[in-house]
Amino acid sequence: MIKTDKWMIWAFVGPTVLLLAVMMYYPMIGTLIESFYSTSFINPKPEFVGFSLYNKIFSSGNFGIVVRNSLAWTIGVVFLQNLIGFGVALLLNQRLPGQGIMRALILLPWILPGVVAAILWRFMYDPQLGIINSFLIGTGLSNTGIAWLAQESTAMIAVIIAAVWKGFPFSTLVFLAALQNVDREQIEAATVDGASALRRLFDVVLPAMRKVIVVNVILTTILTFNYFDMIWILTRGGPRDATHIFPTKIYQVGFGQFRFGEAATYGVLSVLMLSVLVAFYFIAQGSGRNKRAKA
Protein backbone atom coordinates (compact mmCIF):
# COMPACT_ATOMS: atom_id res chain seq x y z
CA MET A 1 0.00 0.00 0.00
CA ILE A 2 1.18 3.45 -0.86
CA LYS A 3 1.19 6.10 1.76
CA THR A 4 -0.73 9.20 0.87
CA ASP A 5 -2.40 12.28 2.15
CA LYS A 6 -6.16 12.48 2.54
CA TRP A 7 -6.21 15.83 0.77
CA MET A 8 -4.95 14.23 -2.39
CA ILE A 9 -7.68 11.63 -2.42
CA TRP A 10 -10.33 14.27 -1.97
CA ALA A 11 -8.80 16.52 -4.59
CA PHE A 12 -8.82 13.60 -7.02
CA VAL A 13 -12.30 12.31 -6.24
CA GLY A 14 -13.91 15.61 -5.31
CA PRO A 15 -14.96 16.86 -8.77
CA THR A 16 -16.61 13.55 -9.54
CA VAL A 17 -18.47 13.45 -6.26
CA LEU A 18 -19.67 17.01 -6.64
CA LEU A 19 -20.89 16.60 -10.21
CA LEU A 20 -22.67 13.34 -9.60
CA ALA A 21 -24.29 14.62 -6.41
CA VAL A 22 -25.68 17.71 -8.07
CA MET A 23 -26.45 16.43 -11.54
CA MET A 24 -27.51 12.84 -10.91
CA TYR A 25 -28.41 12.17 -7.27
CA TYR A 26 -30.31 15.34 -6.59
CA PRO A 27 -32.62 14.83 -9.62
CA MET A 28 -32.94 11.10 -8.95
CA ILE A 29 -33.95 11.68 -5.33
CA GLY A 30 -36.53 14.11 -6.70
CA THR A 31 -37.75 11.35 -8.98
CA LEU A 32 -37.97 8.95 -6.06
CA ILE A 33 -40.09 11.45 -4.12
CA GLU A 34 -42.23 12.12 -7.17
CA SER A 35 -43.06 8.43 -7.45
CA PHE A 36 -45.13 8.77 -4.29
CA TYR A 37 -47.12 11.70 -5.64
CA SER A 38 -49.89 11.85 -8.22
CA THR A 39 -47.89 14.28 -10.33
CA SER A 40 -48.92 14.82 -13.89
CA PHE A 41 -48.72 17.67 -16.34
CA ILE A 42 -52.44 18.35 -16.09
CA ASN A 43 -52.44 18.07 -12.31
CA PRO A 44 -50.04 20.73 -11.07
CA LYS A 45 -51.10 20.24 -7.44
CA PRO A 46 -50.01 16.67 -6.75
CA GLU A 47 -51.10 14.71 -3.71
CA PHE A 48 -49.22 12.14 -1.70
CA VAL A 49 -50.48 8.74 -2.78
CA GLY A 50 -48.11 6.39 -1.00
CA PHE A 51 -47.38 3.24 -2.94
CA SER A 52 -50.50 3.41 -5.07
CA LEU A 53 -48.60 4.17 -8.30
CA TYR A 54 -46.40 1.17 -7.60
CA ASN A 55 -49.49 -0.96 -7.01
CA LYS A 56 -51.05 0.35 -10.20
CA ILE A 57 -47.98 -0.59 -12.24
CA PHE A 58 -47.60 -4.02 -10.63
CA SER A 59 -51.23 -4.88 -11.28
CA SER A 60 -51.37 -3.51 -14.84
CA GLY A 61 -49.90 -6.56 -16.55
CA ASN A 62 -47.54 -4.28 -18.46
CA PHE A 63 -44.89 -4.48 -15.81
CA GLY A 64 -44.19 -8.18 -16.30
CA ILE A 65 -43.84 -7.62 -20.05
CA VAL A 66 -41.46 -4.71 -19.57
CA VAL A 67 -39.30 -6.71 -17.14
CA ARG A 68 -39.19 -9.70 -19.47
CA ASN A 69 -38.37 -7.55 -22.51
CA SER A 70 -35.72 -5.60 -20.64
CA LEU A 71 -34.02 -8.83 -19.63
CA ALA A 72 -34.15 -10.34 -23.11
CA TRP A 73 -32.88 -7.13 -24.69
CA THR A 74 -30.09 -6.51 -22.19
CA ILE A 75 -28.79 -10.05 -22.00
CA GLY A 76 -29.08 -10.56 -25.76
CA VAL A 77 -27.24 -7.38 -26.66
CA VAL A 78 -24.57 -7.70 -23.97
CA PHE A 79 -23.79 -11.32 -24.79
CA LEU A 80 -23.55 -10.84 -28.56
CA GLN A 81 -21.85 -7.47 -28.40
CA ASN A 82 -19.07 -8.69 -26.12
CA LEU A 83 -18.63 -12.01 -27.86
CA ILE A 84 -18.32 -10.37 -31.27
CA GLY A 85 -16.39 -7.46 -29.82
CA PHE A 86 -13.85 -9.84 -28.29
CA GLY A 87 -13.53 -11.89 -31.46
CA VAL A 88 -12.91 -8.82 -33.57
CA ALA A 89 -10.41 -7.49 -31.02
CA LEU A 90 -8.48 -10.76 -31.26
CA LEU A 91 -8.52 -10.51 -35.05
CA LEU A 92 -7.33 -6.93 -35.00
CA ASN A 93 -4.55 -7.87 -32.63
CA GLN A 94 -2.99 -10.34 -35.08
CA ARG A 95 -0.90 -7.84 -37.05
CA LEU A 96 -2.73 -8.78 -40.23
CA PRO A 97 -2.35 -6.70 -43.41
CA GLY A 98 -4.50 -3.56 -43.40
CA GLN A 99 -5.34 -3.83 -39.74
CA GLY A 100 -4.59 -0.16 -39.13
CA ILE A 101 -7.34 0.94 -41.47
CA MET A 102 -9.58 -1.81 -40.15
CA ARG A 103 -9.24 -0.48 -36.63
CA ALA A 104 -10.64 2.83 -37.77
CA LEU A 105 -13.29 1.36 -40.10
CA ILE A 106 -14.61 -1.07 -37.55
CA LEU A 107 -15.44 1.84 -35.26
CA LEU A 108 -17.76 3.39 -37.86
CA PRO A 109 -21.07 1.96 -36.60
CA TRP A 110 -20.33 3.34 -33.19
CA ILE A 111 -19.47 6.78 -34.57
CA LEU A 112 -22.70 7.13 -36.48
CA PRO A 113 -25.18 9.28 -34.52
CA GLY A 114 -27.62 7.00 -32.71
CA VAL A 115 -30.70 8.54 -34.27
CA VAL A 116 -29.32 8.05 -37.77
CA ALA A 117 -28.23 4.48 -37.06
CA ALA A 118 -31.73 3.65 -35.92
CA ILE A 119 -33.36 5.25 -38.95
CA LEU A 120 -30.92 3.43 -41.21
CA TRP A 121 -31.79 0.08 -39.66
CA ARG A 122 -35.50 0.78 -39.78
CA PHE A 123 -35.09 1.34 -43.48
CA MET A 124 -32.97 -1.77 -43.94
CA TYR A 125 -35.64 -3.86 -42.17
CA ASP A 126 -38.43 -2.40 -44.30
CA PRO A 127 -40.49 -5.38 -45.51
CA GLN A 128 -40.65 -4.12 -49.10
CA LEU A 129 -37.86 -1.62 -49.65
CA GLY A 130 -35.29 -2.89 -47.19
CA ILE A 131 -32.04 -4.36 -48.35
CA ILE A 132 -32.31 -7.28 -45.93
CA ASN A 133 -35.50 -8.62 -47.47
CA SER A 134 -34.25 -7.87 -50.96
CA PHE A 135 -31.33 -10.13 -50.16
CA LEU A 136 -33.56 -12.87 -48.73
CA ILE A 137 -35.89 -12.78 -51.73
CA GLY A 138 -33.04 -12.48 -54.19
CA THR A 139 -31.32 -15.55 -52.81
CA GLY A 140 -34.59 -17.46 -52.56
CA LEU A 141 -34.43 -17.74 -48.78
CA SER A 142 -37.86 -16.18 -48.52
CA ASN A 143 -40.69 -15.64 -50.99
CA THR A 144 -42.44 -12.59 -49.66
CA GLY A 145 -39.92 -11.07 -47.31
CA ILE A 146 -40.24 -10.87 -43.56
CA ALA A 147 -41.72 -7.92 -41.71
CA TRP A 148 -38.99 -8.10 -39.08
CA LEU A 149 -40.15 -5.23 -36.93
CA ALA A 150 -43.87 -5.82 -37.31
CA GLN A 151 -44.07 -9.35 -35.92
CA GLU A 152 -44.01 -10.02 -32.24
CA SER A 153 -41.93 -13.12 -32.91
CA THR A 154 -39.06 -11.34 -34.70
CA ALA A 155 -39.14 -7.73 -33.44
CA MET A 156 -36.96 -8.29 -30.39
CA ILE A 157 -34.25 -10.19 -32.20
CA ALA A 158 -34.27 -7.54 -34.93
CA VAL A 159 -33.72 -4.65 -32.53
CA ILE A 160 -31.03 -6.67 -30.74
CA ILE A 161 -29.11 -7.21 -33.98
CA ALA A 162 -29.24 -3.51 -34.81
CA ALA A 163 -28.02 -2.61 -31.32
CA VAL A 164 -25.19 -5.14 -31.46
CA TRP A 165 -24.04 -3.72 -34.78
CA LYS A 166 -24.02 -0.26 -33.24
CA GLY A 167 -22.40 -1.26 -29.97
CA PHE A 168 -19.83 -3.98 -30.61
CA PRO A 169 -17.03 -1.56 -31.65
CA PHE A 170 -17.06 -0.21 -28.12
CA SER A 171 -16.32 -3.66 -26.74
CA THR A 172 -13.69 -4.17 -29.43
CA LEU A 173 -12.01 -0.92 -28.47
CA VAL A 174 -11.88 -1.82 -24.79
CA PHE A 175 -10.69 -5.37 -25.40
CA LEU A 176 -8.12 -4.24 -27.92
CA ALA A 177 -6.64 -1.86 -25.38
CA ALA A 178 -6.69 -4.57 -22.74
CA LEU A 179 -5.02 -7.12 -25.01
CA GLN A 180 -1.95 -4.87 -25.01
CA ASN A 181 -1.62 -5.48 -21.32
CA VAL A 182 -1.45 -9.24 -21.68
CA ASP A 183 2.04 -10.38 -20.95
CA ARG A 184 3.67 -11.30 -24.28
CA GLU A 185 6.40 -13.33 -22.59
CA GLN A 186 3.78 -15.56 -21.05
CA ILE A 187 2.14 -16.11 -24.44
CA GLU A 188 5.47 -16.83 -26.05
CA ALA A 189 6.36 -19.24 -23.27
CA ALA A 190 3.09 -21.06 -23.82
CA THR A 191 3.76 -21.17 -27.57
CA VAL A 192 7.19 -22.67 -26.99
CA ASP A 193 5.57 -25.26 -24.73
CA GLY A 194 3.47 -26.27 -27.74
CA ALA A 195 0.11 -24.88 -26.53
CA SER A 196 -2.42 -24.43 -29.35
CA ALA A 197 -3.88 -21.01 -30.08
CA LEU A 198 -7.07 -22.02 -28.34
CA ARG A 199 -5.16 -23.24 -25.28
CA ARG A 200 -3.22 -19.98 -25.19
CA LEU A 201 -6.46 -18.07 -25.39
CA PHE A 202 -8.06 -19.91 -22.50
CA ASP A 203 -5.01 -20.40 -20.33
CA VAL A 204 -3.17 -17.12 -20.75
CA VAL A 205 -5.19 -14.42 -22.50
CA LEU A 206 -8.59 -14.84 -20.90
CA PRO A 207 -7.35 -15.08 -17.31
CA ALA A 208 -5.19 -12.00 -17.85
CA MET A 209 -8.16 -10.06 -19.21
CA ARG A 210 -10.68 -11.30 -16.70
CA LYS A 211 -10.97 -8.03 -14.84
CA VAL A 212 -11.49 -5.97 -18.00
CA ILE A 213 -14.03 -8.44 -19.38
CA VAL A 214 -16.05 -8.40 -16.19
CA VAL A 215 -15.99 -4.61 -15.99
CA ASN A 216 -16.98 -4.32 -19.62
CA VAL A 217 -19.84 -6.78 -19.31
CA ILE A 218 -21.20 -4.87 -16.34
CA LEU A 219 -20.72 -1.58 -18.15
CA THR A 220 -22.43 -2.68 -21.35
CA THR A 221 -25.23 -4.16 -19.27
CA ILE A 222 -25.89 -0.78 -17.71
CA LEU A 223 -25.58 1.10 -21.00
CA THR A 224 -27.79 -1.36 -22.88
CA PHE A 225 -30.46 -1.48 -20.22
CA ASN A 226 -30.88 2.29 -20.56
CA TYR A 227 -30.38 2.43 -24.33
CA PHE A 228 -33.41 4.28 -25.65
CA ASP A 229 -32.93 5.62 -29.20
CA MET A 230 -32.66 2.37 -31.07
CA ILE A 231 -35.89 0.76 -29.92
CA TRP A 232 -37.80 4.01 -29.84
CA ILE A 233 -37.09 4.77 -33.47
CA LEU A 234 -37.31 1.19 -34.74
CA THR A 235 -40.58 0.15 -33.10
CA ARG A 236 -41.68 2.58 -30.35
CA GLY A 237 -41.93 -0.50 -28.14
CA GLY A 238 -44.21 -2.35 -30.56
CA PRO A 239 -45.61 -4.33 -32.20
CA ARG A 240 -48.10 -4.34 -29.32
CA ASP A 241 -45.66 -4.43 -26.40
CA ALA A 242 -43.12 -6.85 -27.85
CA THR A 243 -40.12 -4.51 -27.52
CA HIS A 244 -41.19 -2.16 -24.71
CA ILE A 245 -38.34 -1.83 -22.22
CA PHE A 246 -37.97 0.44 -19.20
CA PRO A 247 -36.57 3.53 -20.96
CA THR A 248 -39.21 3.46 -23.72
CA LYS A 249 -41.92 2.99 -21.12
CA ILE A 250 -40.64 5.90 -19.02
CA TYR A 251 -40.51 8.16 -22.06
CA GLN A 252 -43.91 7.10 -23.34
CA VAL A 253 -45.68 7.47 -19.99
CA GLY A 254 -43.91 10.71 -19.05
CA PHE A 255 -43.52 12.67 -22.25
CA GLY A 256 -46.06 10.84 -24.40
CA GLN A 257 -48.92 10.82 -21.93
CA PHE A 258 -47.89 13.55 -19.48
CA ARG A 259 -48.06 11.22 -16.43
CA PHE A 260 -44.89 12.30 -14.64
CA GLY A 261 -45.60 10.51 -11.36
CA GLU A 262 -46.03 7.17 -13.06
CA ALA A 263 -42.98 7.76 -15.24
CA ALA A 264 -41.00 8.48 -12.05
CA THR A 265 -42.25 5.23 -10.57
CA TYR A 266 -41.12 3.34 -13.63
CA GLY A 267 -37.79 5.17 -13.31
CA VAL A 268 -37.32 4.03 -9.73
CA LEU A 269 -38.29 0.46 -10.59
CA SER A 270 -35.89 0.58 -13.51
CA VAL A 271 -32.97 1.51 -11.27
CA LEU A 272 -33.96 -1.20 -8.80
CA MET A 273 -34.12 -3.86 -11.46
CA LEU A 274 -30.84 -2.88 -13.02
CA SER A 275 -29.18 -2.89 -9.60
CA VAL A 276 -30.40 -6.43 -9.04
CA LEU A 277 -29.06 -7.44 -12.44
CA VAL A 278 -25.66 -5.90 -11.76
CA ALA A 279 -25.52 -7.41 -8.26
CA PHE A 280 -26.20 -10.76 -9.90
CA TYR A 281 -23.17 -10.27 -12.14
CA PHE A 282 -20.98 -9.47 -9.17
CA ILE A 283 -22.08 -12.69 -7.50
CA ALA A 284 -21.61 -14.68 -10.73
CA GLN A 285 -18.15 -13.17 -11.05
CA GLY A 286 -17.21 -14.67 -7.70
CA SER A 287 -18.37 -18.16 -8.67
CA GLY A 288 -16.84 -17.76 -12.14
CA ARG A 289 -13.46 -17.30 -10.49
CA ASN A 290 -13.87 -20.68 -8.75
CA LYS A 291 -14.91 -22.48 -11.92
CA ARG A 292 -11.98 -21.11 -13.84
CA ALA A 293 -9.64 -22.22 -11.08
CA LYS A 294 -10.93 -25.77 -11.52
CA ALA A 295 -10.50 -25.67 -15.31
Partner: protein
Amino acid sequence: MTARFNLQRVLLTVLLLFVAAIVLLPFFWMISVSLKPATEPFSIPAKLWPDAPTFANYITAFRPEFRTYFVNSMIVSGATVAITVTFGTLAAYCFTRFQLNVLSLILGLVVLAQMFPHAAIIIPIYKMMKNAGLLNTRLSLIIAYVTVTLPVAIWMMHGFLAKLPITLEEAAAVDGAGPLRTFFDIIVPLSRPGIVATSVYVLIVTWQEFLFALSFTSTKEMRTLPVGMNDFIGQYGIRYGELMASSVMVSLPIVLVFFILQRQFVAGLTAGAVKG
Protein backbone atom coordinates in the same frame (compact mmCIF):
# COMPACT_ATOMS: atom_id res chain seq x y z
CA MET B 1 5.54 -24.64 -39.60
CA THR B 2 5.76 -21.50 -41.70
CA ALA B 3 3.36 -22.87 -44.32
CA ARG B 4 0.76 -23.55 -41.67
CA PHE B 5 1.44 -20.18 -40.17
CA ASN B 6 0.85 -18.46 -43.50
CA LEU B 7 -2.35 -20.36 -44.19
CA GLN B 8 -3.59 -19.31 -40.81
CA ARG B 9 -2.80 -15.69 -41.58
CA VAL B 10 -4.62 -15.89 -44.90
CA LEU B 11 -7.68 -17.40 -43.26
CA LEU B 12 -7.66 -14.78 -40.54
CA THR B 13 -7.32 -11.99 -43.11
CA VAL B 14 -10.28 -13.37 -45.04
CA LEU B 15 -12.27 -13.56 -41.82
CA LEU B 16 -11.37 -9.98 -41.00
CA LEU B 17 -12.44 -8.82 -44.45
CA PHE B 18 -15.70 -10.72 -44.07
CA VAL B 19 -16.41 -9.07 -40.72
CA ALA B 20 -15.56 -5.68 -42.18
CA ALA B 21 -17.91 -6.26 -45.12
CA ILE B 22 -20.84 -7.06 -42.84
CA VAL B 23 -20.07 -4.12 -40.59
CA LEU B 24 -19.75 -1.71 -43.48
CA LEU B 25 -22.68 -2.88 -45.60
CA PRO B 26 -25.16 -0.54 -43.88
CA PHE B 27 -22.78 2.35 -44.60
CA PHE B 28 -22.55 1.39 -48.20
CA TRP B 29 -26.31 1.51 -48.37
CA MET B 30 -26.40 4.81 -46.54
CA ILE B 31 -24.11 6.32 -49.13
CA SER B 32 -26.11 4.75 -51.92
CA VAL B 33 -29.33 6.31 -50.58
CA SER B 34 -27.60 9.66 -50.15
CA LEU B 35 -26.61 9.65 -53.83
CA LYS B 36 -30.05 8.70 -55.11
CA PRO B 37 -31.86 11.53 -56.90
CA ALA B 38 -35.00 12.56 -55.05
CA THR B 39 -37.01 11.83 -58.19
CA GLU B 40 -35.82 8.25 -58.56
CA PRO B 41 -38.23 6.05 -56.61
CA PHE B 42 -36.93 3.31 -54.36
CA SER B 43 -37.06 0.10 -56.30
CA ILE B 44 -38.12 -3.36 -55.19
CA PRO B 45 -35.92 -5.29 -54.72
CA ALA B 46 -33.59 -2.62 -53.39
CA LYS B 47 -30.87 -1.50 -55.77
CA LEU B 48 -27.38 -1.45 -54.38
CA TRP B 49 -26.48 1.64 -56.34
CA PRO B 50 -28.68 4.36 -57.85
CA ASP B 51 -29.02 4.51 -61.66
CA ALA B 52 -28.02 8.14 -61.83
CA PRO B 53 -26.04 9.04 -58.72
CA THR B 54 -26.03 12.71 -57.82
CA PHE B 55 -24.68 14.98 -55.13
CA ALA B 56 -27.92 16.98 -55.07
CA ASN B 57 -28.84 15.72 -51.60
CA TYR B 58 -25.50 16.87 -50.27
CA ILE B 59 -26.01 20.31 -51.73
CA THR B 60 -29.44 20.59 -50.13
CA ALA B 61 -28.20 19.19 -46.85
CA PHE B 62 -25.14 21.38 -46.63
CA ARG B 63 -26.45 24.64 -45.34
CA PRO B 64 -24.56 27.60 -43.93
CA GLU B 65 -25.64 26.68 -40.40
CA PHE B 66 -23.61 23.52 -40.69
CA ARG B 67 -20.42 25.38 -39.92
CA THR B 68 -21.84 26.74 -36.69
CA TYR B 69 -23.11 23.30 -35.69
CA PHE B 70 -19.74 21.82 -36.46
CA VAL B 71 -17.84 24.38 -34.39
CA ASN B 72 -20.25 23.89 -31.49
CA SER B 73 -19.84 20.13 -31.66
CA MET B 74 -16.07 20.53 -31.70
CA ILE B 75 -16.04 22.82 -28.68
CA VAL B 76 -18.48 20.77 -26.65
CA SER B 77 -16.92 17.40 -27.47
CA GLY B 78 -13.35 18.64 -27.06
CA ALA B 79 -13.99 20.22 -23.68
CA THR B 80 -15.94 17.21 -22.49
CA VAL B 81 -13.18 14.79 -23.46
CA ALA B 82 -10.53 16.85 -21.68
CA ILE B 83 -12.53 17.30 -18.50
CA THR B 84 -14.02 13.84 -18.28
CA VAL B 85 -10.79 12.00 -18.92
CA THR B 86 -8.95 14.13 -16.36
CA PHE B 87 -11.57 13.73 -13.65
CA GLY B 88 -12.10 10.10 -14.54
CA THR B 89 -8.42 9.16 -14.39
CA LEU B 90 -7.90 10.97 -11.09
CA ALA B 91 -10.92 9.34 -9.51
CA ALA B 92 -10.20 5.87 -10.91
CA TYR B 93 -6.66 6.08 -9.59
CA CYS B 94 -7.92 6.67 -6.08
CA PHE B 95 -10.42 3.85 -6.36
CA THR B 96 -7.77 1.34 -7.40
CA ARG B 97 -5.04 2.41 -5.02
CA PHE B 98 -6.47 3.49 -1.73
CA GLN B 99 -8.47 1.12 0.42
CA LEU B 100 -10.84 3.41 2.26
CA ASN B 101 -14.39 2.44 3.10
CA VAL B 102 -15.68 5.79 1.95
CA LEU B 103 -14.05 5.25 -1.46
CA SER B 104 -15.78 1.90 -1.88
CA LEU B 105 -19.03 3.60 -1.06
CA ILE B 106 -18.37 6.35 -3.59
CA LEU B 107 -17.42 3.84 -6.25
CA GLY B 108 -20.70 2.04 -5.63
CA LEU B 109 -22.54 5.34 -5.98
CA VAL B 110 -20.71 6.07 -9.24
CA VAL B 111 -21.93 2.77 -10.67
CA LEU B 112 -25.42 3.40 -9.38
CA ALA B 113 -25.53 6.88 -10.95
CA GLN B 114 -24.92 5.35 -14.34
CA MET B 115 -28.14 3.38 -13.93
CA PHE B 116 -30.42 6.41 -13.75
CA PRO B 117 -32.64 6.63 -16.80
CA HIS B 118 -32.16 10.01 -18.45
CA ALA B 119 -35.80 10.39 -19.40
CA ALA B 120 -36.68 10.34 -15.70
CA ILE B 121 -34.22 13.02 -14.60
CA ILE B 122 -34.01 15.39 -17.53
CA ILE B 123 -36.70 17.79 -16.29
CA PRO B 124 -35.00 18.45 -12.91
CA ILE B 125 -31.65 18.86 -14.66
CA TYR B 126 -33.27 21.31 -17.06
CA LYS B 127 -34.64 23.28 -14.09
CA MET B 128 -31.18 23.53 -12.54
CA MET B 129 -29.69 24.72 -15.81
CA LYS B 130 -32.39 27.33 -16.05
CA ASN B 131 -31.82 28.54 -12.49
CA ALA B 132 -28.11 28.74 -13.14
CA GLY B 133 -28.79 30.79 -16.26
CA LEU B 134 -27.01 28.22 -18.40
CA LEU B 135 -29.76 27.28 -20.83
CA ASN B 136 -28.83 27.70 -24.46
CA THR B 137 -25.11 27.73 -23.72
CA ARG B 138 -22.37 25.33 -24.69
CA LEU B 139 -21.38 25.14 -21.03
CA SER B 140 -24.70 23.52 -20.12
CA LEU B 141 -23.97 20.74 -22.60
CA ILE B 142 -20.41 20.33 -21.39
CA ILE B 143 -21.55 19.98 -17.78
CA ALA B 144 -24.24 17.49 -18.73
CA TYR B 145 -21.92 15.45 -20.93
CA VAL B 146 -19.15 15.32 -18.36
CA THR B 147 -21.71 14.08 -15.84
CA VAL B 148 -23.12 11.34 -18.02
CA THR B 149 -19.78 10.14 -19.41
CA LEU B 150 -17.83 10.33 -16.15
CA PRO B 151 -19.08 7.10 -14.55
CA VAL B 152 -18.20 5.09 -17.64
CA ALA B 153 -14.85 6.84 -17.93
CA ILE B 154 -14.08 6.01 -14.32
CA TRP B 155 -15.03 2.41 -14.91
CA MET B 156 -12.97 2.08 -18.03
CA MET B 157 -9.94 3.65 -16.36
CA HIS B 158 -10.54 1.52 -13.30
CA GLY B 159 -10.26 -1.58 -15.45
CA PHE B 160 -6.87 -0.49 -16.80
CA LEU B 161 -5.37 0.99 -13.68
CA ALA B 162 -6.24 -2.07 -11.64
CA LYS B 163 -4.03 -4.07 -14.00
CA LEU B 164 -0.99 -1.84 -13.48
CA PRO B 165 1.38 -3.40 -10.97
CA ILE B 166 1.72 -1.40 -7.81
CA THR B 167 5.46 -2.27 -7.55
CA LEU B 168 6.47 0.63 -9.82
CA GLU B 169 4.78 3.14 -7.58
CA GLU B 170 6.29 1.56 -4.52
CA ALA B 171 9.71 1.80 -6.14
CA ALA B 172 9.07 5.47 -6.91
CA ALA B 173 8.03 6.05 -3.32
CA VAL B 174 11.23 4.45 -2.14
CA ASP B 175 13.11 6.80 -4.48
CA GLY B 176 11.45 9.66 -2.67
CA ALA B 177 8.88 10.72 -5.29
CA GLY B 178 5.72 12.26 -3.83
CA PRO B 179 2.32 10.79 -4.64
CA LEU B 180 1.53 13.53 -7.18
CA ARG B 181 4.78 13.01 -9.08
CA THR B 182 4.26 9.27 -9.00
CA PHE B 183 0.84 9.75 -10.51
CA PHE B 184 1.89 12.06 -13.31
CA ASP B 185 5.29 10.55 -14.11
CA ILE B 186 4.47 6.87 -13.80
CA ILE B 187 0.76 6.18 -13.82
CA VAL B 188 -0.35 8.51 -16.59
CA PRO B 189 2.20 7.34 -19.19
CA LEU B 190 1.57 3.70 -18.35
CA SER B 191 -2.18 4.03 -18.65
CA ARG B 192 -2.07 5.55 -22.11
CA PRO B 193 -4.00 2.71 -23.79
CA GLY B 194 -6.75 3.20 -21.27
CA ILE B 195 -6.71 6.97 -21.65
CA VAL B 196 -6.89 6.68 -25.43
CA ALA B 197 -9.75 4.19 -25.30
CA THR B 198 -11.60 6.30 -22.76
CA SER B 199 -11.10 9.50 -24.76
CA VAL B 200 -12.46 7.81 -27.85
CA TYR B 201 -15.46 6.61 -25.88
CA VAL B 202 -16.18 10.08 -24.52
CA LEU B 203 -15.62 11.76 -27.88
CA ILE B 204 -17.99 9.47 -29.71
CA VAL B 205 -20.71 9.56 -27.10
CA THR B 206 -20.71 13.35 -26.96
CA TRP B 207 -20.36 13.80 -30.71
CA GLN B 208 -23.70 12.06 -31.26
CA GLU B 209 -25.62 13.01 -28.12
CA PHE B 210 -29.11 14.18 -28.95
CA LEU B 211 -31.55 14.37 -26.03
CA PHE B 212 -29.68 16.92 -23.88
CA ALA B 213 -28.54 18.91 -26.89
CA LEU B 214 -32.09 19.22 -28.12
CA SER B 215 -33.49 20.07 -24.70
CA PHE B 216 -30.92 22.63 -23.57
CA THR B 217 -30.38 24.61 -26.75
CA SER B 218 -32.94 26.66 -28.60
CA THR B 219 -31.17 28.92 -31.06
CA LYS B 220 -29.34 27.84 -34.18
CA GLU B 221 -26.17 29.49 -32.85
CA MET B 222 -25.91 26.94 -30.05
CA ARG B 223 -27.01 23.74 -31.73
CA THR B 224 -24.74 20.80 -32.27
CA LEU B 225 -24.56 18.57 -35.33
CA PRO B 226 -26.89 15.76 -34.24
CA VAL B 227 -29.66 18.25 -33.52
CA GLY B 228 -28.98 20.29 -36.63
CA MET B 229 -29.19 17.32 -38.93
CA ASN B 230 -32.62 16.31 -37.77
CA ASP B 231 -34.12 18.95 -39.99
CA PHE B 232 -35.03 16.19 -42.39
CA ILE B 233 -37.32 14.36 -40.02
CA GLY B 234 -40.85 15.67 -40.20
CA GLN B 235 -44.25 14.86 -38.83
CA TYR B 236 -45.24 12.52 -41.64
CA GLY B 237 -42.03 11.17 -42.98
CA ILE B 238 -38.34 11.39 -43.43
CA ARG B 239 -36.48 12.75 -46.42
CA TYR B 240 -34.09 9.83 -46.54
CA GLY B 241 -31.76 11.14 -49.22
CA GLU B 242 -30.97 14.39 -47.45
CA LEU B 243 -30.83 12.80 -44.02
CA MET B 244 -28.34 10.20 -45.20
CA ALA B 245 -26.29 12.84 -46.96
CA SER B 246 -26.12 14.94 -43.81
CA SER B 247 -25.27 11.83 -41.75
CA VAL B 248 -22.37 11.11 -44.03
CA MET B 249 -21.20 14.69 -43.55
CA VAL B 250 -21.57 14.49 -39.77
CA SER B 251 -19.66 11.22 -39.55
CA LEU B 252 -16.94 12.29 -41.92
CA PRO B 253 -15.01 14.63 -39.59
CA ILE B 254 -14.72 11.97 -36.94
CA VAL B 255 -13.72 9.33 -39.48
CA LEU B 256 -11.07 11.73 -40.73
CA VAL B 257 -9.85 12.31 -37.20
CA PHE B 258 -9.40 8.57 -36.88
CA PHE B 259 -7.54 8.21 -40.13
CA ILE B 260 -5.25 11.11 -39.37
CA LEU B 261 -4.62 10.05 -35.80
CA GLN B 262 -4.59 6.41 -36.70
CA ARG B 263 -0.91 5.93 -35.96
CA GLN B 264 -1.11 7.70 -32.61
CA PHE B 265 -4.28 5.84 -31.88
CA VAL B 266 -2.69 2.47 -32.44
CA ALA B 267 0.48 3.60 -30.66
CA GLY B 268 -1.65 4.75 -27.76
CA LEU B 269 -3.39 1.44 -27.63
CA THR B 270 -0.13 -0.48 -27.70
CA ALA B 271 1.92 1.74 -25.41
CA GLY B 272 1.17 -0.34 -22.34
CA ALA B 273 2.62 -3.45 -23.93
CA VAL B 274 6.17 -2.49 -23.06
CA LYS B 275 5.72 -2.96 -19.37
CA GLY B 276 6.60 -6.27 -17.80
